[in-house]
Structures are given as C-alpha cells and as structure tokens.
Point group: C2
Chain length 215, copies 2
C-alpha cells in the first residue's frame, strides 16, 4: 500500500475543490499560488490547506507557494482522473435528465452509458443521445457493457430495491440521490447526495448568522 | 451565545442524517436506540455517534441507549426545523425542475415560492404549480415576497452573475449547484452541491476498494 492510500477521507473530500480551483488558475496562466490566496478563494484556512497538501507529499516551498501544474497533476492522479468509469442512471425523471446532461462528468472521466426507468411514457425516448431502456433490459445490458457506477435517482420507496438489483448484477459503485440510508456489503462504495440534508445545514447556518448579527 | 451555537460544523453536517434515521425509528414505534445499532445503520463508529450526541447535551444513558423522541426533538430544534424558510429557484432546467418537485423540502420547512429563468421557451410554463417568471421580474417579486434562500441551477458561466444579483436584492442564503467556487461577503451563507466532486470521491473510493481487494 502506498503512502497515497493513507490520505484521510476528509482530505480526499476536499481534493476535487482544489482540483477545480487549480484548473481555473492553470487556464488563466498562473504558475504559482500561495496557501493564503487559496485560502481566500476557497474559504479554508491557510494552515488547513498546507496540512492537506503535506498529505500529498508536501509540494509547497515556504515563501514560494505551490506550483500549480504539479499540484494539479498530483491531485488528478490521486483522484484517478486518468481512469475512465462507466456510469448508468436508474430513474429518467428530472434529476436523471439533469445528470445525463451534465457535461462536466465526461471531462472528469465519467461516461454515462445507459439510462433506465420503468415508466412506459419515458422508455424509448432520447436523453442526451441515449435511449431510455426498461429496467427489465438492465441485466442483458450489463452482460454486454461494463458499468462501474449506478446513479440512483428513483423515488425513495424504490431506492433500496434498485440498489440491491444493480449490486446483484455486479455494480460496485452507488451514487445515491434518494433521501434514504442504504446498507450495503463492505465492498460496495457509496456516495450519497442528500439534498434535504444540505438544505437543513443551510437553514441552520442562516439562523446562526442571524443570531450573530443580532449579538 | 448558547452552548448550542458552539456545535462543530462537522457535527452539524451529520445531524440531518441522524434526524432522518431517528424519524424512521419513530414512525416504526421504536423508543430507544443504542449507539451500536445506529452505528451499523449509518456507517459511523459508535464512539463518533456518542461524541456527537454529547455535543447536544448528552442525552444517552450508559447501557440504556438513547431516547428516540427526545433526541429527534432536540436535533429538530438545533437544525431549526421549526422555522419556515422561503426559497426561490433560479434556473428552470432539468435540475431546477427536479428541485421544485422534491416533496421532502416542504416537510423540512423549506417552501419554494418562485422559479425564474431567462429562456423564453420556459417562461410562463408551470413547474409544480408555480409559473416560471423572467429574471427581470425578480426584483419586483422580492419586494412583495420575502425569500431567504436562492437555489442556483443555472449554467456555470452565469452562476456568479446570478448569485451577485440575488444577494444585491437581499437574499442571504445561496444554495449553489453550479460547479464553481463563488466568493461571497461574510454575512452570506452558502451551501454547495458539487455533483462532479461527489463523483470524483466515488471514483477514488472505487479505485481504493479495488486495490484492497487485490492486496
């Protein structure tokens, strides 16, 4: 196991943001950046940023800042952006449509190869160049096409059933958008987007902000 | 400032999950739950859970577990679920549609009161009972309707402009779905949903899982 595999989860979770920020700098021709400048732009403390980057092998030099290109390359390798993943979307409602139209994913190495639903009114229609298939076709489809990740955008009452189905068909990555906690075997990797949770945190912070302004 | 306002951000971020889990238990008639049972269901360690709850005033009794109803009530109060927030959606594309159809939000105290876009083909159409308005109408609308939060679901190149606009019109909460880092004044509360970031973390974890299986 390399040093890289021991990077803490919380650091990993911040890497995409660094990556996005550094990509923009790179496009603008910036070659060096200080942790202080990053701090302002990203809303993290300088020491947090320096600590995060020391986890990646300490690419910064005191007083000189970080080399944008090497940092960008290093983070890209850690995040595996050189790897291509195939993704299927289960649930071709508004959210499924939104995901399939997201052009950023392919740029980051995630290719959407199939969209599935059970609603006869949607099946056969095109979503971003892909024909929506019936869930009954999923098993056959996965025999001929390797998919790594299933995005689950079905109503919450079906989420568990759908997740179990795709896992039984060999998919190891679940991108869950349903507002439920799903239990999975240990070798299944799950990433949740819980929209209500995010909104509740926003509400909490708004309330705190108001309190502080009154104080 | 009360003890509550000093709950660390990382704990706050886990509270919605606890809330969701405890709500389900409550509906099932469960009155007590151990940190061990929660641990299994939520994929957090027991000690993490106990530590989190001690931040809320330590409602558990060694060996007896936690009282579901009091914990639920306490977390609801902290998260401000007794407060009603008004939300507008800027960008009536697929993602905007998906958000406006999300029934969970209103249950959690977030009411969608307006949907805005600049695309003439969408303006005037109904989205979940609300007529899509033109961005030019936003200023008038906000004079007559108090909105706390703007969900920004416009293409990334417009996100900054839209955010500045709604902030200039008095909105303090930004729920940003565009894959950009936006800089805001200190009194503005931002919550980002960066879909690509989440996908990158999923890709990273999949890769790690594969490595470990090979090892």
């Amino acid at each position: 196991m390399s040093a890289r595999s021991r990077i803490p989860g919380a650091v990993i979770r911040r890497l995409p943001r660094y990556y996005r920020y550094l990509s923009t700098l790179h496009q603008l021709g910036i070659v060096r950046v200080s942790s202080r400048d990053m701090s302002k732009a990203l809303g993290l403390t300088s020491s947090q940023i320096r600590q995060d980057f020391s986890n990646l092998g300490g690419l910064g030099l005191q007083g000189y800042g970080y080399d944008v290109d090497s940092l960008l390359k290093e983070i890209g390798i850690i995040l595996g952006l050189d790897t291509m993943y195939n993704l299927i979307i289960i649930g071709a409602g508004n959210l499924g449509h939104a995901l399939s139209n997201y052009q950023n994913f392919e740029k980051r190495g995630f290719r959407i190869i199939g969209v599935f639903d059970v609603d006869q009114r949607i099946i056969g229609k095109k979503v971003n160049g892909l024909t929506v298939m019936h869930m009954d076709e999923l098993s056959e489809f996965l025999k001929e096409n390797k998919a790594d990740i299933a995005a689950i955008t079905v109503p919450r009452t079906y989420a568990r059933e759908v997740a179990e189905k795709v896992i039984s068909l060999g998919i190891r990555g679940i991108w869950n958008f349903a507002p439920v906690e799903l239990e999975f075997p240990d070798d299944i990797v799950v990433e949740n987007i819980h929209l209500s949770d995010s909104l509740m945190v926003l509400g909490y912070n708004l309330k705190q902000e108001k309190k502080e302004n009154r104080a």
